[in-house]
Amino acid sequence: MELSSIITWLVIIGAVFYVIGIYNRLVALKNRFENAFAQIEVQLKRRYDLIPNLVETAKGYLKHESETLEAVISARNAAMSGLKSAANNPGDSASMQQLGSAEGILGSAMGRLNVVMEAYPELKANQNMMQVSEELSSTENKVAFSRQAFNDAVTAYNTYKQSFPPVFFANTFGHSNDAELLEFADSAELQSAPKISF
């Protein structure tokens, strides 16, 4: 062994550790966005628990609108199963899109319900109703907020994965697919809100 072989040896060791470092960083970033998804999950679950309450209260007033109510409930159930599969593999493209579209359908069903409810002032004045819808809209904001945190974490993961040396190893280490952002067709209030500044 000569000096050059020591140097080669050290370079090899350095490279091995560097690659291990890439692996660990990928795992850490993946963990981080999965943990961030758990935040969304908590909020969405709360939202799905609140919707039946809302429907139950509304039922008494909206005798002739049972179609709208049923649409809300079925959209809610679909979104719930979407959440379940998304929670099992957050960042997976198919389940993120499924959840996103299910949420979109639920959002528009809720929107229709809101329009219908405009016609029933006594329902809007109902104490219980006011409470549930306040809680619901507050939960919706929290969902949007934790979704932002999740998307930030996913972006950090994707960016690292695609950056220069890691891009060669990501595939081998089982990080072949980019994680998918979670996009909803947001409710009007949040869309009209100024950008970022959350």
Partner: protein, 652 residues
């Protein structure tokens, strides 16, 4: 021993660790060199020396036994040393992210602050109580998906500490037992074991690196291996590489054997200490005793099969793998139990795996009825009340009760808001506006309106009324309950939040004590800081002391005259040559700078510093809430967690 002596001992243990480590590396170098020399000699004996240099080298040392070539010896030593150093540095860098990195390496899942799962909620409640009772910042809690009963604490310092528990812990232990386990982990955090353990992980990784490379070489040199660079090589050379690989693997195993010995040596005594501390903290030997008994009676015990757990085995509550007793990182279970419960008969209870994971909220009801046990009057028959400095790093029934009471007194509405990153920010904004003058409040509202999201603004409006009625004593605790959820903010979200906090603090062009405390604790907890390994003597930090005391005197004493008197008294207790300088108003930047230096003061000298500080604060004979907060925040910045002050308790 008190907190400071424990910290000091942890430091000294680090020295012992380094000594053992050097010994292990030297042994490894010797073994590796002899082995490689022998292999090289073997191959060279069968063929003539390949080049001139080697030939001349062999001639030069003809008097030595031929197979022990000094040149090869040196080269091997350099390689082994290089590997160990690179391996250790690499791990060190990786772990610099703090406790969270450890939990993530083991596949931990963070418990969300607003979880709706009863068992998880209970763990969070216990951790929150203990954190407030001991004055530590709230650690994040992670769950390892394993049926075994085990727990760990990781992190470099109080601010990046995390606690991990297994799913088995949540499913199988009741509240008292869980509290015992968590108290054990808090002891590791408080007594400096945790940072020692993190160093241990880094150092041992260097030794293990050798076996890792050995395994790689063995794989590359295998005759059946027909890919890449090995294809061109002759079989003879391939088997040579395999032989070197095998040798390195064996050497690596010897290395990890040493590693286990070191781990065992450093960590076993600390486990007894942590068990004892858990009993002291909870005043309930049954809790932790029964938890240990359950490990004994449970088929999975405390054994984990997660990836990477072996590397962190000494961080855990119980033994991670079944090792022979002299390699164990933890003392034998029966011995631990009988030290806690001397009347224990040696029987383990039968613990069955729960059939289904209960999702009900029974935890809440048990919470409400759970009585604080161990309140037998004989044990606590009016001992003299310890001072705040004495109770640093200690945690007693009184502190726990105080913490529970504080948590109970925080209005439910605020607690709900604190559990969620979205509304927690609104809570903090309203805390910052609470004590402002009316016209300043106007401009603060204006700033919020432009700086933050309209929905957060509305939340702030809703919370503000409740916050306005909040007693001053509860303001910091209310803030502390927000920390867990604020940790879930993403980086861009945190930057916006921090900017808003700064704007609110600066709205009135001056900084109050509460605002400073809040800002310091916020940044200390949410921004990772590198630990400072260098220790300095208090005498060398005298200018920092001078700066700190000057500013604090001015803050807490109304007039320059009393400030000077208080300063001189403090200077006397410190026995340092420091001078009072008359200033117009206190500068918080100077306090910040001074604290950066004072943080590195030797553990055994920190009480002196805190006494001087207490002396200044108590000079006028009364302790206001702002002064308490200031004292606790400064102590927190020099890594001394001060429990909440009890009624009538003196500082020193």
């Amino acid at each position: 021993m008190n907190f400071f002596e424990h910290q000091d001992q942890a430091r000294r243990n680090t020295k012992k660790l380094v000594g053992l480590f050097i010994l292990a590396v030297l042994t490894l170098i010797t073994v590796a060199s002899v082995f490689i020399s022998a292999v090289v000699y073997h191959y060279q004996a069968s063929k003539p020396p390949v080049n001139q240099l080697q030939a001349s080298a062999l001639e030069g040392y003809a008097s030595l036994p031929l197979w022990l070539n000094p040149e090869i010896f040196m080269l091997t030593a350099a390689c082994v040393l290089g590997t160990v150093i690179v391996g250790s540095l690499f791990k060190w860098m990786q772990l610099s992210a703090g406790g969270q990195a450890v939990a993530e390496a083991m596949g931990g899942r963070q418990i969300q602050p607003n979880t709706d799962h009863g068992g998880e909620q209970q763990v969070l409640n216990i951790v929150e109580e203990m954190a407030i009772a001991s004055g530590l910042p709230l650690p994040s809690v992670f769950i390892l998906d394993s049926a075994a009963i085990n727990a760990f604490a990781a992190g470099h310092n109080h601010h990046d500490a995390i606690i991990g528990v297994t799913q088995g812990c949540i499913d199988l232990l009741d509240r008292d037992q869980l509290q015992g386990v968590i108290a054990h982990e808090f002891s590791h955090i408080l007594h400096g074991d945790m940072s020692l353990n993190m160093r241990l992980v880094g150092v041992l990784h260097g030794i293990l690196a050798i076996s890792l490379i050995g395994r790689l070489l063995l794989h590359a040199g295998r005759p059946g291996y027909r890919r890449g660079f090995s294809r061109r090589r002759s079989n003879n050379k391939g088997s040579g590489i395999a032989l070197v690989g095998l040798g390195l693997l064996i050497i690596g195993y010897i290395g990890s054997f040493f590693g286990s010995l070191i781990k065992a040596n450093v960590s076993r005594q600390r486990e007894f200490l942590a068990d004892a501390a858990a009993v002291q903290f909870t005043r309930n030997p049954e809790g932790i005793g029964q938890a240990l008994q359950k490990i004994g009676g449970f088929s999975h015990g405390s054994q984990l099969n997660q990836a990477n757990t072996e590397e962190f085995s000494h961080l855990f509550f119980g033994e991670v793998s079944r090792f022979s007793s002299w390699m164990a990182t933890h003392p034998p279970l029966p011995e631990r139990i009988s030290r806690i419960l001397p009347q224990w008969g040696g029987q383990y209870p039968e613990v069955a795996q729960p059939v289904t994971i209960e999702e009900n909220n029974s935890a809440y009801s048990s919470e409400a009825t759970s009585q604080f046990s161990g309140e037998n009057p004989a044990a606590s028959s009016a001992p003299p009340q310890p001072t705040a400095i004495d109770s640093i790093g200690e945690l007693g029934t009184e502190q726990l009760q105080k913490a529970r009471q504080l948590l109970n007194d925080i209005p439910r509405r605020l607690k709900q808001a604190a559990g969620d990153a979205f509304s927690a920010r609104a809570l903090i904004y309203s805390l910052l506006m609470k004590d402002s003058a009316t016209e300043v409040q106007g401009s603060q509202w204006q700033q919020l309106k432009t700086g933050c999201h309209p929905v957060v603004y509305r939340h702030t409006e809703q919370l503000f009324q409740t916050v306005q009625q909040l007693p001053a004593e509860l303001m910091l605790p209310a803030f502390e309950t927000c920390l867990a959820s604020l940790k879930t903010l993403s980086e861009p979200q945190y930057q916006v939040f921090k900017k808003n906090v700064m704007l609110l603090i600066r709205a009135d062009k001056k900084v109050s004590v509460f605002e400073w405390c809040l800002y310091r604790m916020l940044t200390n907890n949410l921004e990772a800081k590198r630990p400072s390994p260098r220790l300095i003597d208090l005498k060398r930090a005298s200018s920092a002391c001078e700066d700190l005391l000057n500013n604090v005197c001015l803050l807490v004493q109304g007039t320059p005259q009393t400030a000077e008197a208080a300063f001189n008294k403090a200077a006397n207790t410190l026995a340092l040559k420091i001078n009072y300088t008359a200033q117009q108003e206190p500068h918080f930047q100077h306090i910040d700078q001074a604290l950066q230096t004072l943080r590195q003061v030797k553990p055994l000298q920190k009480p002196q510093l805190l006494k001087a500080l207490a002396c200044v604060i108590e000079h006028d004979g009364k302790i206001t809430i702002a002064e308490q907060e200031l004292f606790r925040a400064i102590a927190d910045n020099v890594d001394c967690p001060v429990p909440p002050l009890l009624a009538g308790q003196a500082l020193c």
